[in-house]
């Protein structure tokens, strides 16, 4: 048996290997919190439904829509991720910190990391630079919208009108 042979040959390696396996088993059994490098690999394992609402962000640079088919997957992911993440990151961070309070509450400061507050202006400046790199031209006007869709029989149909993202104000 491999573990027995490993134990006989190198006890340190045996301890590291079996320790990691135990931690991996525990973290995966508990379902939720991870501790890098002990991870869970459950991406897209939960149930998803065709009726789920899909959120789509669209960016207009100099009044031209950035076509997701003309940019790289990474660039499109950047747009879709950060426009959703920015308005939600403070609440997300607060909830995560609350979850960890029982583990880290004994630390100085109650285990609450200092929160960097980013202004809309700072985010817009940063986002504009990123979009400039994508469209490879100076941006005079930048707008973004958010719209929700659902799948109905043969295609995605909007369930609301596209709303302008007010936090993005580069004009």
């Amino acid at each position: 048996m491999f573990l027995k042979k490993l134990y006989r040959h190198n006890k340190t390696l045996f301890l590291l290997f079996s320790g990691y396996l135990c931690a991996f088993g525990y973290i995966n059994y508990k379902w939720g919190v991870i501790a890098t490098p002990v991870l869970q690999y459950g991406m897209y394992s939960g149930k998803y439904r065709l009726q789920d609402t899909i959120t789509v962000y669209r960016v207009l640079a100099n009044n031209r829509l950035i076509d997701p088919s003309l940019v790289s997957t990474g660039q499109n992911d950047f747009i879709q991720t950060y426009l959703g993440l920015y308005p939600a990151y403070q609440e997300n961070n607060r909830l995560v910190t609350k979850t960890f309070h029982s583990y880290l509450g004994f630390l100085p400061g109650g285990g609450i990391p200092a929160e960097r507050l980013v202004t809309d202006e700072a985010f817009t400046k940063w986002f504009k630079q990123k979009i400039q790199a994508i469209v490879v031209e100076p941006i005079q006007k930048l707008e973004a919208t958010c719209q929700h869709f659902v799948w109905q029989s043969r295609g995605l149909v909007p369930i609301d009108t596209a709303s302008k993202l007010d936090f993005l104000d580069a004009n």
Binding site: L13, G32, L39, Q40, S69, G74, N76, T97, G155, L156
Partner: protein, 263 residues
């Protein structure tokens, strides 16, 4: 170096990301790192972001040099690579929206070079092989545990989520047409999901025998390729784990015998 190039070409290195804020995740290690204040310090100092990126590229090169030269620094550099790569991946994923799972190869592969001697290397290689099999198998188990495998519209719904912006903004695009046709036929789309889960579950065979390792290697490469084509998720760095299944066929080296001096 290929993976470093992937990060660079995707504009995903720390100095390219130029992060603005930290994104906390349910990761205890990340939370401790952010509590130390290092995350904010990195955000505020672009020169440090560049320095961390350069170090991230240099450390594997130093390890390669030490291995090729049979230098005793090999063990130190290997250890440094493992620790640094954990820290770097935590920083990068904590200050951006990237996934930590992408970096798992960067963290584990250098650990192979932390051991001394051929026999220990053989055991380390097999430890990593077993570890990867368990990781891959666990992904299949998750699909059973969380119920995805028992949901016939699973893959169609995932494709909508994954490619939503493309389907809405450029439905006439050829790739969008292919994805839309898959979404419209949930049964066919589900076959891809089920095959993916079966591929992950099949890895359990590797816990009992090494005779199917070539199959596991092929399955791993196909899995990565299909992920890239259908999901546009790039798991290329996991190709490094494929070598574990290629080299596992090598026989266990004989233990070195310490010669006693002739009297």
């Amino acid at each position: 170096m290929v993976c470093y190039f992937l990060l660079w070409s995707g504009g995903s290195l720390l100095h390219q990301t130029a992060p603005l804020f930290a994104v906390h995740k349910l990761d205890l290690s990340l939370q401790i790192l952010l509590l130390s204040g290092l995350g904010d310090f990195v955000i505020l100092h672009p020169w440090l972001q560049a320095l961390l990126d350069v170090t991230y590229m240099l450390l594997p090169l130093l390890l390669l040099w030490a291995v090729l030269k049979h230098s005793t620094y090999q063990y130190f550099f290997a250890f440094l690579n493992v620790i640094y790569n954990i820290g770097y991946s935590l920083l990068l994923t904590g200050l951006s929206a990237m996934s930590t799972q992408w970096f798992v190869g960067f963290i584990f592969i250098p650990a192979l070079f932390m051991v001394k001697g051929e026999l220990s290397f053989y055991y380390a290689l097999h430890c990593l092989r077993y570890l990867f099999i368990i990781i891959f198998f666990s992904a299949g188990l998750w699909k059973i545990r969380a119920g995805g495998l028992f949901n016939l519209e699973q893959m169609s719904a995932i494709l909508l989520r994954q490619h939503g912006s493309l389907l809405v903004s450029a439905p006439q695009n050829w790739y969008a047409s292919v994805i839309l046709s898959l979404v419209r036929q949930p049964g066919i789309a589900y076959i891809f999901y089920a095959l993916g889960a079966l591929a992950e579950l099949f890895f359990v065979v590797g816990l009992f025998t090494k005779r199917r390792d070539k199959w596991l290697l092929i399955i791993l490469l196909l899995f990565i390729a299909f992920n890239m084509v259908i999901m546009k998720i790039n798991y290329f760095p996991w190709v490094a784990f494929g070598f574990l299944f290629w080299y596992s066929k090598l026989n266990e080296p004989l233990p070195s015998i310490t010669k006693t001096p002739d009297v």
